[in-house]
C-alpha cells in the first residue's frame, strides 16, 4: 500500500485536530479501483467519539458507500487514533466498515500527537476467516512519493 507523505501528514493533522488530545478519531484511506494499492484521499467520517471509542454515523456511511460507487473508489484502510499505545482492540476486531480479506486497519498511538511517520503505529490485516493478523506498518505502508505514483 502506498501513500504520499502529504496524505500521511494530513492523516495525523486530522486525527489531532478532531481529537484535541481528548478524543479518539477515525478516518478512511480511499483508493481508486483502477489502482487499489495507491491511496488518493483521506476521508473524515461523521462520528461520535469519546476518549476511548468512536462510533460512525451510519447515515453518513450509507451515503459514502454510494459516493464510492459513483467514483469507482474503495475504502482500503481504516485509520483511528488511540489515547495511548496502538493495538487492535476487541472493538476494532468486531466492528470494522469492511470485512473482506486483505482489508487493513491502522491504529495511531497517543492521539496522533507524534511525527507523521507511523512510529509506534499498529497495522492489522483481515484474514479469510474474519480474524485479524498484526503486520509491520512500514512493510505494508510505503510513504515514499515515488512508490505512491
Amino acid at each position: 500500500m502506498a501513500i504520499a507523505p502529504q496524505l500521511l501528514e494530513e492523516t495525523y493533522l486530522r486525527l489531532r485536530s478532531c481529537g484535541q488530545r481528548r478524543r479518539e478519531c477515525h478516518l478512511y484511506w480511499v483508493a481508486s479501483w483502477n489502482d487499489p494499492h495507491r491511496i488518493i484521499r483521506v476521508v473524515h467520517p461523521a462520528h461520535a467519539a469519546t476518549m476511548v471509542s468512536v462510533e460512525i454515523d451510519m447515515a453518513w456511511m450509507n451515503a459514502f458507500f454510494l459516493e464510492l460507487a459513483d467514483r469507482n473508489e474503495c475504502i482500503r484502510v481504516q485509520v483511528h487514533s488511540h489515547p495511548g499505545a496502538a493495538f487492535h482492540s476487541g472493538t476494532d476486531d468486531c466492528w470494522p466498515a469492511i470485512r473482506t480479506p486483505g482489508f487493513l486497519s491502522l491504529v495511531i498511538p497517543d492521539f496522533a500527537t507524534g511525527a507523521p511517520d507511523l512510529e509506534g503505529a499498529y497495522v492489522a490485516e483481515q484474514d479469510a476467516h474474519s480474524g485479524w493478523n498484526g503486520v509491520s506498518p512500514k512493510e505494508r505502508i510505503t510513504t515514499q512519493l515515488a512508490a505512491a505514483r
Binding site: 479518539e24 476511548v52 451510519m58 450509507n62 454510494l66 460507487a69 482492540s89 466492528w95 466498515a97
Partner: protein, 96 residues
C-alpha cells in the same frame, strides 16, 4: 383487460447492490424474500458468514430481509447498499 400498449409490472426484478465502491446486479422474482439477494450479495462480495450485514435503501432505510421485494416496496433497478449496521473502533471494550 389492459390494452396492447399498457405497461405490465415486471415479475422479475434486477436489483443493484453496492458495497465498498462496487455495484453488482442481482436478479430476483418480485415475490422472493429480500434475504435471497442479501445472501447472494454477501457471498459475492466475500462477507458471507457475517451476521451484522443488511441491505439499505439510498435513503438509509434498512430493508426487512424477511419481506418479499414487492412487499418491501423495492422496484426494478433500485440501488441498495450492502453494509454493516454498526461501525465502531476504540480502546473501549464492547461486548458483541
Amino acid at each position: 383487460m389492459a390494452g396492447a400498449g399498457a405497461v405490465q409490472p415486471k415479475e422479475k426484478l434486477s436489483i443493484v447492490v453496492v458495497h465498498n465502491g462496487v455495484a453488482r446486479e442481482f436478479d430476483a422474482p418480485e415475490n422472493a424474500a429480500v434475504q435471497s439477494v442479501l445472501s447472494r450479495a454477501m457471498a459475492e462480495f466475500g462477507v458471507a458468514g457475517q451476521s451484522d450485514y443488511a441491505l439499505f435503501t439510498e435513503q438509509n432505510v434498512e430493508v426487512n430481509a424477511n419481506q418479499s421485494f414487492k412487499d418491501a416496496g423495492i422496484v426494478d433497478e433500485q440501488r441498495l447498499v450492502l453494509r454493516t449496521r454498526t461501525v465502531r473502533s476504540g480502546t473501549l471494550v464492547v461486548v458483541r
